[in-house]
Symmetry: C2
Subunit: 317 residues, 2 copies
């Protein structure tokens, strides 16, 4: 006999969301969850992101990957503030109540949730075209929250990991492109880097719409410009093997969905950053510097100008 909506919620969500966290006064199962606020000095970070089938993922992607990514893209927003993930609400719109799909979705979702010791405190399941909205709440010491507005002229610009892989997965073909698809379907929210950069970075953003678009937000909100050395952009070997160098650079500049962090920091922190990269087992790469003025200049290692790619960030409509 198939289970109804309430039984499925109990089985797949309520049971897995059990917690001994004493700050959760009341979890799933009432009109609202009740949460004890954080200690003095900490503030709350709130974010929400929706993934829509056949816009942000393919409806036929593995349900496990969809569950993982729906949470990862939200955790990435908290990482970009330097916040620790704490509480999650899940609003799930499903065309059918397919128990096997839901079980796999939850397996992906809870794998990442538990990795970060965050807690599902509530949600909503509705009937309609497949779409997932996740709301996350994190905490961060008030004086250490990292915004888009703190970049200084003379800061250097870093990115974590490699760029362009997720975008390449959309067009890549062949057996060797598995790692690219992995990057697209299972993005890593750089929570550890976000926490490490508290008190060090000056401005930060996660790269969801493409480096140029997202670094552009830092420039606008910090009222500065930037110069990027395109030959310093971190490219994975898989991406390099998949296409010519110029195409790879253009994907690194404009491709969305990488969910790496882009941040600005004083040049004196270079050694500390490389030590931290070893500790966290995730590289960072200096790709340029913050300049007076506005806009982003692209140059090569030899100082020549690099043409601005035609697609500058994901357009949602």
């Amino acid at each position: 006999m198939s289970l109804n909506e309430f039984e499925l919620v109990d089985l797949y969500f309520k049971a897995q969301a059990q917690t001994s966290d004493s700050d959760v006064i009341l979890g799933i199962g009432d009109d609202a969850a009740l949460i004890q606020p954080p200690a003095t000095g900490e503030v709350l970070a709130f974010s929400v992101d929706t993934l829509v089938a056949d816009i942000h993922f393919h409806a036929t992607d593995p349900a496990h990957a969809i569950g993982y990514k729906a949470l990862a893209v939200n955790f990435s927003d908290l990482a970009a503030m330097g916040a620790t993930p704490r509480y999650v609400l899940l609003a799930l719109t499903l065309p059918t109540l397919d128990e096997a799909w839901l079980a796999e979705f939850c397996r992906g979702f809870f794998t990442l949730l538990k990795e970060h010791r965050a807690i599902l405190i509530g949600g909503d399941i509705t009937h309609g075209p497949l779409s997932i909205t996740v709301q996350v709440t994190g905490t961060v010491p008030r004086t250490q929250a990292l915004t888009r507005a703190g970049a200084h002229v003379g800061d250097v610009i870093y990115v974590t990991g490699t760029l362009g892989d997720a975008a390449a997965a959309l067009t890549a073909r062949g057996a060797q492109c598995g790692p690219l698809v992995q990057r697209l379907q299972y993005p890593t929210a750089r929570i550890n880097w976000g926490l490490a950069l508290r008190g060090h970075a000056h401005a930060m953003i996660d790269i969801s719409d493409g480096l140029l678009a997202d670094l552009g937000h830092i420039c606008e909100q910090s009222k500065v410009g930037a110069r990027i050395n395109v030959d310093r952009l971190p490219l994975s070997s898989v991406l390099r093997n998949e296409m010519d160098y110029a195409s790879a650079l253009n994907l690194a500049l404009t491709g969305g969905d990488d969910y790496e962090l882009c941040f600005t920091i004083a040049p004196t922190q270079a050694d500390w950053l490389q030590q931290t990269a070893q500790t966290l087992n995730c590289p960072v790469q200096c790709i340029g510097e913050i300049t007076a003025g506005s806009g982003i200049d692209l140059v090569t290692e030899t100082g020549e100008s690099w043409p601005e790619p035609t697609k500058s960030g994901y357009q949602h409509f």
Copy 2:
């Protein structure tokens, strides 16, 4: 020239979400909003609800009503906890970027938001089938939050307003049914009643799926039963004129979307409740009592058994 997504967000959301609330450290426009936690003794109440086009509303309904209702159903969850609405995140999935529609949607949304002095702190706009997910955060003194689990044997059961109107709007025809459509499209979140009942009510829920289904949740979570006198169910004169008495009672028992509050309270509070109803200009009606055991018995004023309606609450799938 038509505006792009970012310009529309600035015009319709960011500009209207400006606030002087010092607890909002950082509002719309970064990776996450930053909020100062509430004072000692207060806890946070979190809820999320999705409205999907042609499931929860008609895609052709006035955009003003859709914006209003998307927020009202969420505020209703806070009302049911006795919480004050504070912060709102809006995740909007739109098939097209129609500026006229968006302007009307925002007019409805912000009318209700500002009425309760709540603040829009962030959101997400995505492309896809029309759907609106709203996440609300409220605050309530820890010792006064009202859950579904506090009903005692001997409590009396009350509901605010009238029942069945919203469900009747789905089938009603003719010029006289305007007030029913108003109830369906512009539900009133009973925030004032929620606040007034702090320290008075023992258990509370909002009626979104139908009285029997929602009172059933109170009974299950409080481990009690209930007896309802169907002749005491508050029916509007419009509903009474629209159909026969038995049909009206059945809608009052099973119709969803009324968003009235159902609560249990000591019988000694009857006078205080009627005085408060006058102050708040919204009636309450005693409809029965909490009993030992489980399940809900339906009886008439003369003590006869009333047959259980076939539809007992909205089934989502």
